[in-house]
């Protein structure tokens, strides 16, 4: 296909053998290619170089409190559903130096002026892109924006992948975020056995793809891909009725169910760590012994942290029940008023990685049931 007829919105058939060169081109352009990799019987996001680093022939089974890798024996790279890690660690790092302050007579500040890395995220799912876009609303506002998030976000290359094999904890369809990618990516893949269908989402994506050899996909191939996506849409592991949210939660803060789930929840904060939209953070100071140089750092925090709602005189959320309620009513409730969208993208991580298997779709359904009766 001639380069000049490749436009934003074009879809081409890219042989899998071309993929490594695409990654190499990205690195040539100054991007750090990070993507999924099997590690510690899970899948993490880490620097990758070639297709070989990806989870080849791997799927996973996810249930509340359970994550298992399964070998498929197939030469496919994106049949798995992502693990605990999300891409938020690259835009909103778990630990970030904000500034140093030095006392030379008076105190002087040296801001963190390090150039921010330019990441190429390889294998971003629809729910994950939606999550990034949710966090954009949190970190890039007029009255507050994180210049380091902005630098990383502007330097980001998103190579997305449509999900074809959702697992039991997926409910992106209910949240309107997937499984098919919506605009916001640079390139988007749909994996077939021998090739990738690649859709162009941006000028940057187009110019990189233009260097590869590809073909026009046949109608037959496009059909297979569409059917696979349609099948994925029908195979969601879970659903969440959002028609009465956020009101259902915000109007029933004293439902019995909160007490019940409060007995099961360990307040371990796993859910907030794996959730791709959770954004709470804390700032700490570390000063040296002579008290002349201090480092101010930002760290991920969690509303499950008992100190989170400490005030003079005590704690406004001293019980696990109150903290679980805060998390869920924020994520699927108050968030909407704050950022114009719900905070949940239906990725299901919180369900999979909860050690006691608390499933928010089940909790919400139970509250709905309790309220109706």
């Amino acid at each position: 296909m001639p380069e000049k007829s490749l436009t934003i919105g074009s879809t081409v058939a890219l042989p899998k053998t071309e993929f490594n060169a695409l990654l190499a081109d990205l690195r040539q352009e100054g991007f750090q290619t990070v993507g999924p990799h099997v590690q510690d019987e899970s899948i993490v996001y880490t620097p990758i170089e070639t297709l070989n680093d990806l989870p080849r022939g791997i799927q996973d089974e996810q249930q509340p409190g359970s994550f298992r890798l399964v070998a498929t024996g197939q030469d496919r790279y994106f049949d798995f559903i992502p693990g605990a890690q999300s891409w938020k660690q690259f835009l909103f790092p778990p630990k970030l130096t904000l500034f140093h302050a030095r006392k030379e007579g008076k105190w002087k500040i040296e801001a963190n002026g390090e150039p921010q890395p330019r990441y190429a995220l390889i294998g971003v799912r629809a729910c994950e892109l939606a999550a990034i876009q949710v966090q954009d609303r949190v970190f890039l506002r007029q009255d507050f924006y994180d210049p380091l998030y902005r630098a990383r976000r502007e330097g980001l290359f998103i190579l997305a992948v449509n999900c074809l094999k959702p697992v039991a904890t997926c409910f992106c369809v209910s949240m309107g975020t997937g499984p098919r990618l919506q605009p916001g990516f640079d390139l988007c893949l749909t994996e077939l056995d021998d090739l990738f269908l690649v859709e162009v989402g941006s000028e940057l994506g187009r110019s990189l793809l233009a260097k590869r050899s590809f073909e026009l996909p046949s109608a037959y191939i496009q059909n297979i891909a569409n059917q696979a996506l349609e099948h994925a849409t029908q195979s969601m592991g879970r659903t969440l009725d959002t028609s009465d949210l956020p009101g259902l939660l915000m109007d029933h803060l004293e439902a019995e169910r909160w007490t019940e789930v409060g007995k099961r929840c360990l307040s371990c904060a796993n859910c907030t760590q794996v959730c791709p939209t959770c954004f709470c953070w804390d700032a700490t100071d570390r000063i040296d012994l002579p008290r002349k140089v201090t480092v101010r750092e930002r760290l991920w925090d969690s509303c499950f942290n008992p100190d989170y709602s400490h005030v003079f005189g005590g704690n406004t959320r001293p019980t696990i029940r109150s903290r679980y309620r805060q998390w869920l009513t924020h994520k699927i409730g108050a968030w909407k008023g704050q950022f114009d969208v719900l905070g949940c993208v239906g990725c299901g991580r919180c369900i999979t990685w909860c050690p006691v298997g608390i499933d928010l779709t089940e909790e919400i359904a139970a509250i709905r049931q309790e309220v109706k009766s």
Binding site: L98, F99, A101, K103, K106, W107, I109, A111, N112, V138, F139, R141, Q142, D143, F144, Y145, D146, P147, L148, M250, L253, E254, F279, C280, W281, D282, A283, T284, D285, I287, R291, T294, R296, R298, D301, C303, Y308, S309, H310, V311, F312, G313, T316, R317, P318, T319, R321, S322, R325, Q326, T329, H330, G333, A334, G337, Q338, F339
Partner: protein, 292 residues
């Protein structure tokens, strides 16, 4: 629904992208007020910032002690003070405030602000105002009292209710006479007094039993321990003052002051950004839920 620009001043908007970096101000004066409560008066090191900085009554600064951290402290001084000093009355109870308590005149703290929704002094013009405060809740209301005394004819009957644990805990005692002279009815009460105390002994909310208010033209500004606030609101509502005209300043764990870190949330509100001053009508749904 989220207020983004409305509570920001031209100055505080400058902190939007600075990721907690403060400007530096030195302590010009220290005034002990009561046991464990001290007032600090600051002046920015940079004269350009000093002249440009302006706050509205009810707003707060994030005060930074290097090596320790930040604390959200309301301004308690007159926004139009001729000496331009920025006053904060601080109760020395936590890590950061105790660190402030160890500082001397001439030493420097970081300042970010002013942040937060102020007392609605323009909206309540023409009304009778009941300022109901207790303990360390008076400092955030003091700038409002200054404003009212500077513009006394813009308001109707103005009453200051102030309660503390005992006579020695009463703040700003040497200012009560001046406020009375300026046309404010000053009603002070203590939880318990000794033989030398000839003033009121009781609690602030009970004032409503002794005095009539016209609910059609009364506004209440209240700040103090949450239980005092709760009963002030209760008594105010019982006398038919509309919830829209009862204004409360809330306190939560504030870490960033800019609605970014999540800590101070109450329902849909970031207390630091949508508050700390709220009409009670906005809070009714949430404050009565235990542990919310």
């Amino acid at each position: 629904m989220t207020t983004t620009m409305t509570n920001q001043t031209a100055h505080s908007a400058g902190y939007a992208d600075r990721l907690l970096q403060p400007d530096w101000a030195e302590i010009a004066k220290i005034t002990p007020e009561a046991e464990g409560v001290v007032s600090y008066w600051f002046k920015f090191l940079d004269p350009a910032i000093q002249s440009r900085y302006h706050f509205a009554p009810g707003q707060f600064n994030m005060l930074y002690v290097p090596g320790c951290g930040e604390a959200a402290i309301s301004m308690s001084s007159d926004p139009d003070a001729p000496d331009g000093l920025l006053g904060h009355t601080v109760r020395l109870v936590g890590n950061v405030t105790k660190a402030i308590g160890r500082l001397k005149v001439g030493e420097v703290v970081g300042v970010r602000g002013p942040f937060g929704a102020p007392w609605p002094l323009d909206a309540i013009q023409g009304l009778d105002v009941v300022v109901a405060s207790g303990g360390i809740g008076l400092p955030p209301l003091r700038p409002a009292l200054h404003h009212i005394t500077h513009h006394r004819d813009q308001y109707g009957k103005v009453t200051l209710l102030y309660g503390a644990r005992s006579p020695k805990d009463l703040l700003y005692q040497n200012e009560y006479e001046g406020w009375k002279q300026a046309g404010i009815d000053v009603q002070v009460t203590v939880d318990r007094g000794d033989e030398s105390w000839n003033g009121r002994v009781g609690v602030v909310p009970m004032w409503f039993y002794n005095f009539r208010v016209d609910p059609r033209k009364t506004a209440v500004l209240t700040c103090g321990p949450e239980i005092m606030i709760r009963f002030v609101i209760f008594e105010g509502l019982a006398r038919r003052i509309p919830a829209e005209r009862i204004f409360v300043s809330l306190e939560r764990n504030m870490k960033c002051g800019q609605g970014a870190c999540g800590h101070c949330q109450l329902g849909p509100y970031f207390i630091c950004k949508d508050g700390p001053v709220f009409p009670f009508s906005a809070l009714e749904k949430f404050v009565n839920v235990e542990e919310y």
